[in-house]
């Protein structure tokens, strides 16, 4: 039977970032990826590097997200150096727009809560009134009453990121195999046997980075990965000249000029079909923030399923019963990619996850 030192199940942003970094640390890495039609959040996301209001009531997560944003420039520089692919990373800071006084109060409260719970570590945000927003963003609509602004936020071309990670990991010697859905993981005396209809391989270490598939795979190696259903929907407009030089949690303008609009979450459906009553709400709100959007043609609308735990935080954990088996999953796969590569991969390499990752152990999700 074939052998690899580390087998990573899943070749999305999570699996590819870890594979790339582990190969750089000298490990022999094999990535087993699923099929073309498997749900793949790495191809269905807004592309935000987002800190802002993430982690209300979850200060460890807020700080983790901020640190990921700080890792991004160095991470992107290395990826670009190795691949020649421009990831279009920009971190100009991000706005959350309020369309009513009530929304502004909520934003203000959320940002204050995060600053307080992180003992001031995340205090460099601003709450802006309408005029202060208008000075920075002249094209906002009359319905914008204010906004929060966080200096860490930004965006990246996430499809190029996905492509670049795959190219970079292959250049570093990672063995990537698509169309290898994993059905069974069996612990052995010196590692694991990973198998599917395609055959089987042996591994000393295994990393579950299979997104939605982790829920099924994790119990095979003493891990736990509960997820909730969360469908997102994104509207893509025609390309136009730049009018929004920053980002927001709900919309951004890409490097090529398309506007991406999406902040929806559906929990009641397993269907990937577009829901136009949601499209209407997304479009209406976006056009109130930037009236110019109402004039743009929509060229496509797509949906995807998020990888989301019941509390929204990542799960980073090594199995206690089967050391050498890790589960790695998160909702903010783009934002956290830089941290996965630069901070978590070295810990996996060393075989010990640091105390900083303890809050992301799945035990918090056990229903007692």
């Amino acid at each position: 039977m074939e052998q690899a030192e580390i087998v990573i199940v899943g070749g999305g942003l999570m699996g590819a970032a870890l594979a790339w970094a582990l190969a750089g640390l000298g490990h022999d890495v094999l990535v087993l990826d699923g099929g073309d039609l498997d749900p793949r959040a790495s191809r269905a996301n807004l592309g935000l590097v987002w800190v802002s209001d993430k982690g209300v009531g979850q200060p460890d997560y807020a700080i983790l997200s901020r640190d990921a944003a700080l890792h991004w420039p160095a991470f992107a520089a290395v990826i670009q150096e190795e691949t020649g692919i421009d990831l279009q990373l920009q971190q100009p800071g991000g706005f959350n727009f309020a369309l009513s006084e009530q929304e502004l109060e909520q934003l203000t409260a959320n940002m204050a809560t995060i600053a307080d719970q992180t003992h001031g570590e995340l205090c460099s945000y601003e709450i802006l009134d309408r005029e202060e927003v208008r000075v920075r963003l002249p094209h906002i609509g009359p319905g914008v009453v204010g906004a929060s602004f966080c200096p860490y936020d930004g965006h990246v071309n996430s499809l190029r990121l996905f492509n670049a990670l795959h190219l970079a990991m292959t250049k570093r010697g990672v063995d990537y195999r698509p169309q290898r859905p994993v059905e069974l993981i069996e612990p052995t005396d010196d590692g694991f046997t990973v198998s599917g209809a395609w055959g089987a391989v042996r591994a000393r270490k295994i990393i579950l980075a299979a997104g939605l598939g982790n829920t099924r795979l994790a119990p095979m190696v003493g891990l736990y990965a509960p997820l909730v259903r969360s469908k997102g929907q994104v509207i893509v407009t025609e390309k136009c000249r730049p009018f929004f030089p920053s980002v927001s949690g709900a919309l951004r303008q890409t490097g090529e000029g398309s506007v991406l609009i999406g902040e929806s979450q559906e929990t009641h459906t397993g269907s990937l079909a577009v829901n136009h009553s949601i499209s209407a709400v997304l479009a209406e709100r976006a056009a109130r923030v930037f009236p110019v959007i109402a004039d743009l043609n929509v060229v496509r609308i797509w949906t995807g399923f998020r990888v989301k735990t019941p509390d929204g935080m990542p799960i980073y954990q090594q199995s206690e019963t089967h050391p050498g088996a890790f589960v790695m999953l998160c909702h903010s796969g783009v934002t956290l990619t830089a941290l996965h590569a630069l901070e978590i991969a070295p810990q996996i390499s060393a075989g010990v996850l640091q105390p900083r990752l303890q809050p992301f152990h799945a035990r918090r999700l056990h229903v007692s």
Partner: protein, 101 residues
Amino acid sequence: MFRKVTPGDKALSFHFEGGVCSAEPGDTVALALLVAGIDSCRDSVVSGQPRGPYCLMGACFECLVVIDGVQNLQGCQVQVREGMVVTRQRGGRHALGDTLS
């Protein structure tokens, strides 16, 4: 180059970049441009490269033109009308009128 398999009466005329082209009733702008030997109708937003009609069925967005002042129209989805003024789509559309031009 492209030519009609069953040529008909080119009863319509329209303007493209200052020149005059003819078209049959029912022809789309993209088709009429190809028949007139014009295979480039826009400049890419991303690279600035010249581009022209490709799929002729509304999917590829390669045939974008400005028609009577309306930007970013798919030439393959608009039928030629008499006297229509068509110009190249140069890069991304101006979403904000003249303010960013």
